[in-house]
């Protein structure tokens, strides 16, 4: 990471900490804000958060590794989460998943080479009456068909 990038990340984290507070209870909101923007929380960011909240960096890593929606490794610009739980499964999630994999040339858990999309499975998205469902970043798509899902993903940049 370039020094310049480091400096700007530090500034960003300082701003977040000032906004959300120096308490331990602010840790999750801070991580969520960084995750939303950068799609992952780098080692350097973790150290900076730890420094500013006055906790050990391993505490930060430990929290990140616990939550499915927080990442410590680089991800694509868009994170796609396809629901794999029972009713979406019954409604044809497998066909949707395979169509997406073929179209993007990657499997679930991977990121496209151009860093455009990371594919992930999610557990129950609460859309059981309208499945199969997926979330792209923070937008929900329901009643997916293989074709519809692929069209949605081809639209995003």
């Amino acid at each position: 990471m370039l020094l310049l990038e480091k400096n700007s990340l530090t500034e960003e984290i300082e701003e977040l900490v000032n906004l959300m507070g120096h308490e331990r209870s602010s840790l999750l909101p801070i991580l969520q804000a960084l995750q939303r923007k950068h799609k992952y929380i780098s080692d350097f960011a973790q150290q900076e958060i730890a420094r500013l909240l006055d906790i050990h960096p391993v505490e930060v890593y430990s929290v990140i590794s616990f939550y499915a929606f927080l990442h410590s490794e680089p991800h694509g610009r868009n994170i796609v989460r396809l629901c794999q739980t029972i009713t979406c499964d019954m409604a044809g999630k497998d066909a949707v998943a395979k169509a997406i994999e073929r179209e993007l040339g990657i499997t679930f858990g991977q990121t496209t080479k151009d860093k455009r999309i990371t594919l992930e499975y999610a557990n129950c998205l609460g859309m059981c009456d309208q499945g199969p469902a997926m979330i792209v970043n923070d937008r929900v798509y329901t009643h997916l068909t293989p074709e519809k899902a692929v069209n949605i993903l081809n639209e995003i940049k």
Partner: protein
Amino acid sequence: MDISINKSPRQGAVLFSPYLRGEGIQKALEIGRENILFEIRESKLKGRGGAGFPTATKWMLVAASVAKEKFIVCNADEGEPGTFKDRVLLLEYPELVFDGIVIAGYTIGAKEGIIYLRGEYEYMLQSLEDYLSKMREDNLLGNSILGQEGFDFDISIRLGSGAYVCGEETALIESLEGNRGEARNRPPYPVNTGYMNRPTVVNNVETLASVPHILLKGGEWFKKYGTDKSTGSKLFSVSGDCTRPGVYELPWGTKISELLEIVGGENAKAVQVGGASGSCIPRSQFDRTLAYEDAATGGSIIIFDKNRSMLKVLKNFMEFFVEESCGQCTPCRIGNVKLLEGIKDIERRNYTFSYINKLKDLGRTMQVASKCGLGQSSPNAFISILENFKEEIFNYNGFGGTNGK
């Protein structure tokens, strides 16, 4: 947004009955704390998340505490497979939920309410924040609410990050405090040492949404619906093999067969009541009733018709638990993996009955030895599906049979 509005008929005399924003709060301030607690106790309202703890008892314990700071937390981390009633309540009936939180805050003497919204529902964050702003404008939140001197209260929204176990109340509190969402030992309960070690009431979204109606119409009225031990009505999230999935309000005590008729699922061979952690009820028991004392549920109803392989259903459930177990205690961390391996063995037709029986024993051990509700309830599906569908799962059909496909 790509979500259809809840199309199910808005039947239901309780939650889906007419309500004007702020009405419940007004009434609460008029009648005062004692009478609120009286009405809630009269109504015999029990927690709608599934555990069914009497709401009035929880509130009284915290109300009676002399601690300087107290909290009311609304558990909107509905992660149970097949549950989506909170989505409908928060998107379409926010007035009930938020008024319920304000009333709870007033009753127990809290100044702060927190909604723990599951990360999967981040898309509704903006509309909820907007709603809270409107409440502040109308003095339903903020200082001296509706002119009541000394009643200052506000609500903040905190997001989860995709951990099912955070629906367990002590794990939820850990998460709010900025930790891994690992359940605490209980006792002590959150009513004594909850968020920030302060007395805390943690209530399900639907529980809080019931409160304004109870205050307006009285506990006696609420009790008219449902059964003796399960009063009032319940929101059922219905999905799976039926023609009209959606959220339905039905009185407790409704028979499973009656519900299936309403939602167009008469061809079901089985119904999973209570989500992945609930139990699977075969057709022969469809005259059982949905109630705390019979087939208890937090509202998840998943319907399977005759073409579904119950082994695949079970495998999906166990994969869910293997992923969602927080790993803190051994019975749950290892147990779920072992149960899933057993299912894969059955799938490959590479099992012995003595080992399957050992796995069932393991399941029963998990039910008593796991630290929190996740591991205590994850073997339910394993045990009930293998028991109720053993013919389908273990008996090969004769020549040309399609079993196990």
